[in-house]
């Protein structure tokens, strides 16, 4: 079989050509330059084009949605406090999620240095959800914010999940003359409710 032969010949070629091994460096802990990582997270997230809303109670989610999305269409929610209004047929395929106006889900982690949130198949299904919706709202507990990516990866075990993604704002592009445009292929807006 082509691939099996190729595997052998590639690995052989690498063994023939590889340099002597060097030690892999240990990655140290880095102190955050932020005095308050929750505040810092909010600032960076906002700079990325995310909307950050502070709430004290998950029950306030309703109000936040109402206030920020007054004319919202079909909602798909993975959060208890908000009911889904988007109708899905039994055994729906990912394409069937086209038409979701607002998706609401739990974020597992936040990263202060870059304003990203981590969502994975542990808390989200289907995988297409945060991308296919027009607007995305994530609920993030302040205690889940880590200072930087190193700290975030300490909390993640990729081996346990099918898919996971850091989302750092609304979908964007600058491919036309470097002009920043929000809402390229994925969600047009990204709201983080900080609990």
């Amino acid at each position: 079989m082509e691939s099996t032969d190729a595997r052998k010949s590639i690995l052989e070629s690498i063994r023939k050509h590889r340099p002597e091994s060097s030690d892999i460096p240990a990655i140290p802990d880095f102190e955050s330059p932020m005095s308050n990582i929750v505040f810092g997270f909010g600032e960076v997230a906002a700079a990325n084009g995310s909307k950050v809303v502070h709430i004290d109670d998950p029950d306030q989610l309703q109000e936040v949605i109402k206030a920020n999305f007054p004319d919202i269409g079909p909602v798909y929610s993975l959060v208890d406090q908000i009911p889904s209004t988007f109708q899905l047929r039994e055994g729906a395929a990912p394409v069937d999620h086209q038409g979701i106006d607002l998706a609401i889900l739990h974020a597992e982690l936040g990263v202060a240095e870059n304003g990203a949130v981590w969502v994975s198949t542990e808390s989200m299904n289907p995988r297409i959800l945060p991308f296919i919706c027009e607007h995305l709202v994530v609920l993030l507990e302040k205690s889940s914010i880590r200072s930087n990516m190193h700290e975030a990866y300490k909390e993640i075990n990729l081996k346990n999940i099918g898919f996971g993604v850091f989302i750092a704002g609304p979908s964007k592009t600058a491919d036309i003359e470097q002009s920043l445009v929000i809402g390229a292929q994925g969600a047009r807006s990204h709201t983080i409710c900080l609990l």
Partner: protein, 459 residues
């Protein structure tokens, strides 16, 4: 390996620069990326430490690549992923085709992948009746124009919004004369959404493949890779063998560096970690060599394999910014392209190591600390050794070499030796092609050289 005709960078650059205002515009847009990188990197106090870590991790990878690939394969298979190996571009294309044909794929959506550009996958698939749609906006624009990328991060950076407007008007029936990027992006969104909803398979490139977890990481700002990969059961990820990193924790180092180096963003909007196929789906990873393992054997040049394709070296390159990506005649242009290509085909790309002033901005900016300018210098020596140097250049300078190694000849005051004496400093300024004097005055020759003055006044 394509045509043997060698790339003439200088001639292509000459043509590019002939339109000076456009050159200035190109220089400014590419410089803008670099400026944003400086701002983004400055916010990270441990930036230089991260670069050293990235470089060290990649060095370790190069020395253990075979083991990491095997470990990666084992873990990926345990995750339910099908792993394929391709020695070269043709076998990569064959493997992808056979997967697609098995699934009777008619429409493939593809996110940015320099590897599939390198392998010329699109024409291969199109010839077999499979429609391929590049879904990154920049990539889609150049695909519609039937061009290759001119930059590895911003593939359409050489195109003006007016041109995009015309293109979309012609092919996507957008309003005539539209130039607003917001509007044009919306047009593309609707067009591409249609493709996503109707595709049969998705293919992405790979930014990092983690040996420890068997998964791949794909970074985009638009979300196009995810819109494809999660939409349909069949997802394919194609990667060069050098994309491996050992540990999950190494992602922390590289994701902190990648986007900041590329555009100054603290991280791309989406950093997607694909570990296992979705329920009822198939996930394939194609591992491609295509000359990389051979390059690993070149002591002086193997470091080029540490590249994470951030584009910072081209954004920093004063030559790239003024000559455009196409002047390099290869998918990966700029400084990194100029040290990779001679390894593929020295005859064809022998000019590229000379398309540089050796200013070193590339090496200084590179997040994995590739010694690009030193490699350019070393490739020049290779070009000479392999006898590809322009013969006239060689003869002229070799004469100078003999003259200069002998002080006697250099000093003798006879008419002939006076010429020799003056020749070396003038080899650039007063050569017979007179390229110097096209836009510059020649330096004036004063009555007395320093040496003459010193002899007269100080001896």
């Amino acid at each position: 390996m394509g045509s043997q005709k060698s790339i003439n960078h200088a001639a292509a650059a000459d043509k590019f620069i002939a339109n000076e205002s456009r050159t200035d515009w190109h220089n400014a847009s590419v410089s803008y990326l670099r400026k944003k990188r400086d701002v983004g990197a400055a916010l990270v106090p441990e930036w230089e430490t991260l670069r050293s870590l990235a470089s060290g991790i990649k060095n370790n990878v190069l020395g253990n690549l075979d083991q990491y690939l095997e470990q990666f394969e084992k873990n990926a298979q345990a995750n339910g992923v099908q792993v394929h190996w391709a020695v070269d571009a043709e076998s990569h294309n064959r493997i992808v085709t056979s997967i697609l044909e098995r699934h009777k794929v008619k429409l493939l959506v593809k996110s940015k992948s320099m590897l599939t550009e390198e392998c010329h996958l699109n024409p291969h698939l199109e010839a077999r009746g499979i429609e391929v749609v590049d879904t990154d906006l920049g990539e889609r624009i150049i695909q519609m124009r039937d061009e290759g990328p001119s930059h590895i991060v911003a593939p359409a950076i050489h195109i003006k919004k007016e041109e995009v407007g015309e293109l979309f008007h012609d092919q996507l029936q957008s309003e005539a004369g539209a130039t607003d990027p917001q509007y044009l992006t919306e047009v593309a969104r609707q067009h591409l959404r249609e493709k996503f909803l109707n595709c049969d398979a998705a293919l992405t490139g790979v930014n990092f493949a983690v040996a420890e977890t068997g998964g791949v990481v794909v970074c985009t700002n638009e979300g196009n890779a995810d819109m494809g990969a999660h939409m349909v059961p069949l997802q394919i990820h194609c990667m060069g063998i050098e994309k491996i990193i050992p540990r999950q924790q190494d992602l922390g180092v590289f994701l902190r560096l990648l986007a900041r180096s590329a555009t100054g963003q603290p991280i791309t909007i989406y950093s997607s970690h694909h570990q296992k196929p979705k329920e009822g789906g198939e996930m394939h990873i194609v591992i491609v060599d295509n000359g990389r393992s051979k390059h690993l054997g070149r002591d002086t040049f193997r470091n080029a394999l540490k590249c994470i394709r951030c584009g910072a070296c081209m954004n920093s390159c004063p030559v790239y910014r003024r000559s455009g990506g196409y002047s390099y005649g290869y998918t990966v242009p700029g400084p990194i392209g100029s040290i990779l290509t001679p390894g593929f085909n020295l005859e064809k790309y022998k000019e590229l190591p000379f398309a540089s002033t050796l200013c070193g901005a590339c090496s200084a900016v590179c997040p994995t600390k590739i010694n690009i300018d030193e490699q350019l210098y070393k490739w020049r020596q290779k070009v000479y050794e392999e006898d590809y140097l322009d013969k006239t250049k060689e003869t002229g300078l070799s004469v100078a070499g003999n003259v200069l190694s002998s002080a006697k000849k250099y000093k003798r005051a006879s008419a002939l030796m006076r010429w020799a004496l003056k020749w070396m400093p003038r080899f650039m300024t007063h050569n017979r092609f007179n390229a110097w004097a096209k836009k510059r005055e020649l330096p004036e020759v004063p009555g007395e050289s320093f040496r003459d003055w010193y002899r007269k006044n100080r001896k």
